[in-house]
């Protein structure tokens, strides 16, 4: 019997049983599947059980005082998806967040997300939210298809592969194009987590080539392959105290490139709210005579300069002087080139 069929048969069998089913009986009912040597049959059954659990179907062994009553069962309460008792706005949060994430074209566990949204539609109906979100998701994903030819599909499959590594704690082999020199390197990485920042995805993990924690931009990962040996045995443990959030909320000018430098940025005139928040939680903002002054410490001043340039004509770098001069020369160069 094919595996997919066997797994469903087994699930149907255990769901129907009102009492735990003994191993002996399972063997009798599935003679061609769990025949052969006892050891091989038990291992095959254990693998099947693990696969069922990965599908959301928990098979439990219940041991009774007398051996006769011991056996396997699927507890229906543990199996069936319960109704989600959530307020309309909370359902809207789930539907909107889920469908927008899918519409991005690349999201970790994208396939799982599709299944999750389907299950959600089964377990909780929120007239407005679910329909609106589902409709939007369909249209949005259609809109993204054009992007697929542009490498988005490749990115999505890389993200899917890395997601597998993160969940199962399996090492991944990467072919990576370095940002500065543009050369390709191959390395093994223990994937600790995935984060999104400014519309791009990043992998954080222990890099075996550098022997240290590293961040990888997904757009620069040319190839990613999860170690397929012993799929249910983790290759590593994530160190205690590792906080993905710390990496994810780090601003580009906080990447360690040089020693810390105090920087000052000034804005004149009305300032959009997102500009204030764009400097992150560690920046100090003060307003004085109609201007906004931002003070912060940068360890990658070049990134700060790019950020300030992108904020438009009301922003300028005040200090340090060299950074101000650099911004000035870039603008002058661009003007010469374009003017």
């Amino acid at each position: 019997m094919q595996k997919a069929e066997r797994l469903l048969d087994l699930a149907a069998f255990l769901l129907r049983a009102s009492e735990p089913v003994s191993w002996r009986e399972i063997q009798e009912q599935f003679p061609s599947d769990y025949g052969g040597s006892e050891e091989a049959a038990v291992r095959k059954f254990e693998r099947d059980k693990a696969e069922l659990l990965e599908l959301g179907i928990p098979v439990r062994f219940v041991s009774q005082d007398d051996d006769a009553g011991s056996g396997y069962l699927i507890d229906r309460d543990e199996f069936y998806l319960p109704n989600l008792e959530l307020a309309p706005e909370d359902l809207a949060l789930l539907y909107l967040a889920g469908s927008v994430a899918l519409a991005q074209g690349a999201f970790p566990y994208a396939r799982d997300l599709v299944h999750a949204l389907n299950k959600l539609s089964f377990a909780a109906r929120a007239a407005g939210a679910s329909e609106t979100a589902a409709l939007a998701a369909r249209h949005l994903s259609r809109g993204e298809e054009s992007g697929a030819a542009n490498g988005a599909a490749v990115k999505a499959s890389t993200l899917e592969e890395l997601s597998v590594g993160v969940t199962a704690k399996k090492r991944v082999h990467l072919v990576y194009e370095g940002a500065e020199r543009g050369e390709k390197t191959e390395r093994d990485v223990d994937p600790y987590g995935l984060y999104q920042s400014g519309g791009s995805w990043f992998l954080v993990g222990h890099c075996h080539l550098r022997g240290a924690l590293r961040t990888f931009h997904l757009g620069r990962i040319a190839e990613a392959k999860v170690n397929t040996a012993a799929p249910r045995t983790p290759d590593f443990t994530v160190p205690r105290g590792f906080e993905l959030r710390e990496f994810a909320t780090r601003e580009p000018w906080e990447y360690t490139v040089h020693a810390p430098v105090r920087c000052t940025v000034r804005f004149d005139g009305p300032i959009a709210p997102e500009v204030r928040t764009s400097f992150g939680r560690r920046a100090v903002l003060r307003e004085e005579a109609g201007s906004l002054w931002v003070e912060l410490e940068a360890t990658n001043a070049e990134a700060l300069m790019r950020h300030v340039l992108s904020l438009g004509e009301r922003a300028q770098i005040v200090a340090p002087r060299e950074l101000r001069e650099k911004a000035k020369s870039i603008l002058a160069l661009l003007l010469r080139r374009c003017g």
Partner: protein
């Protein structure tokens, strides 16, 4: 009794699909068809994310599934009649299984990135919908994906989510960047969307009499009114991400900048010259966005067209440079 097909066996189709994916799909498909008797094949296929032919293959596969002792009534029985799907025997697959930890974690990570008053409540609910044995892995996995920081205060988002769900109009305190002023807007909130990495509310602006995108991080306050509105149609929602129907903007980038730019959503490669960089196109962007985007690459990018976008870029540089002189 040994297992045999309950009805005449269909010819075995080559299993093109991943068997695990198929299992996950049918564990949803069967209960969904139980709940919606006579659902059209087309609709069920769409709901399951497969073609009609693939759905029919799934139904064939399910005909062979049952439980010992495999008597005729021990098999799953789904049949198609007049292009509609019916379930005669569901063998207790009447509801889908609970969330797997990665399904719940993916949804949880998406919810955390959007934010709102309800984030901790929905995370707790998702956790309770994972089989008890897998809840610890769920907790761990939720901490391994960070899909972004919420764009606006939780209370503002909570009210917007409520208004979208209940189809109520909202009053927004909104900053309009093109005029650099903050003002009040009354909006019928249709849905939320993301564009170029930013979150937007897409809704009908009553004063301007048309649907418009509103950046969430420019909404200072939001209150939900009593006024209800009719749900938007499909055509209306399809515009939610197409914020501008103007000609796409073209940007030329140096080799280093090109790699970064192309990893961003919505940026399409037009032409690559080895060693000299690339020409890219961005559809649906406005001129101001394009200028800022190009400048975020330092001196390595310039807006090249259409002419009005180019002028906007050059004028922007000129005005920025004036601060440094």
């Amino acid at each position: 009794m040994t297992k045999k097909k309950a009805t005449e066996a269909p010819p075995k189709a080559p299993a093109k699909t991943d068997p695990r994916e198929r299992l996950r799909r049918v564990l949803f498909l069967v209960p969904y068809a139980v709940r919606h008797p006579g659902i059209p094949v087309k609709e069920l296929a769409r709901k399951c994310g497969v073609s009609e032919a693939e759905l029919l293959e799934d139904l064939d596969f399910l005909m062979g599934v049952g439980c010992p002792p495999f008597a005729p009534d021990d098999f799953l029985d789904l049949y198609v009649e007049g292009e509609k799907v019916y379930v005669a025997l569901h063998q207790r697959f009447s509801r889908p299984p609970r969330f797997t930890e990665s399904e719940a974690a993916a949804l949880g990570a998406a919810a955390q990135a959007l934010g709102g008053d309800g984030v901790s409540r929905v995370l707790e609910t998702l956790r309770n919908c994972v089989p008890p044995d897998r809840r610890r892995s769920f907790d761990e996995l939720v901490g391994r994906i960070y899909a972004g920081s919420p764009p606006v205060r939780d209370s503002v988002l909570g009210r917007l989510q409520r208004a979208i769900a209940l189809r109520r109009e909202v009053r927004l305190r909104y900053y309009t960047a093109s005029r650099s002023v903050e003002g009040d807007r009354t909006v019928r909130p249709y849905t939320l969307a993301q564009r170029f990495g930013h979150w937007y509310l897409y809704g009908y602006d009553l004063a301007r009499e048309k649907p418009l995108p509103f950046r969430l991080d420019r909404i200072r306050e939001c209150s939900v009114s009593e006024a209800r509105f009719e749900p938007p149609g499909e055509a209306q929602l399809s515009l939610a991400r197409l914020f501008s129907e103007r000609e796409p903007i073209r940007i030329r980038l140096g080799p280093r900048a090109a790699a970064w730019a192309l990893s961003r959503p919505g940026v399409t490669l037009i032409e690559r010259t080895p060693g000299r960089g690339s020409l890219v196109e961005v559809a649906g962007a406005d001129e101001d966005w394009a200028t800022r985007f190009a400048l975020s690459f330092g001196g390595e990018a310039e807006v090249v067209g259409p002419p009005s976008a180019r002028r906007h870029f050059v004028d922007g540089i000129r005005r920025s440079l004036a601060h440094y002189l």
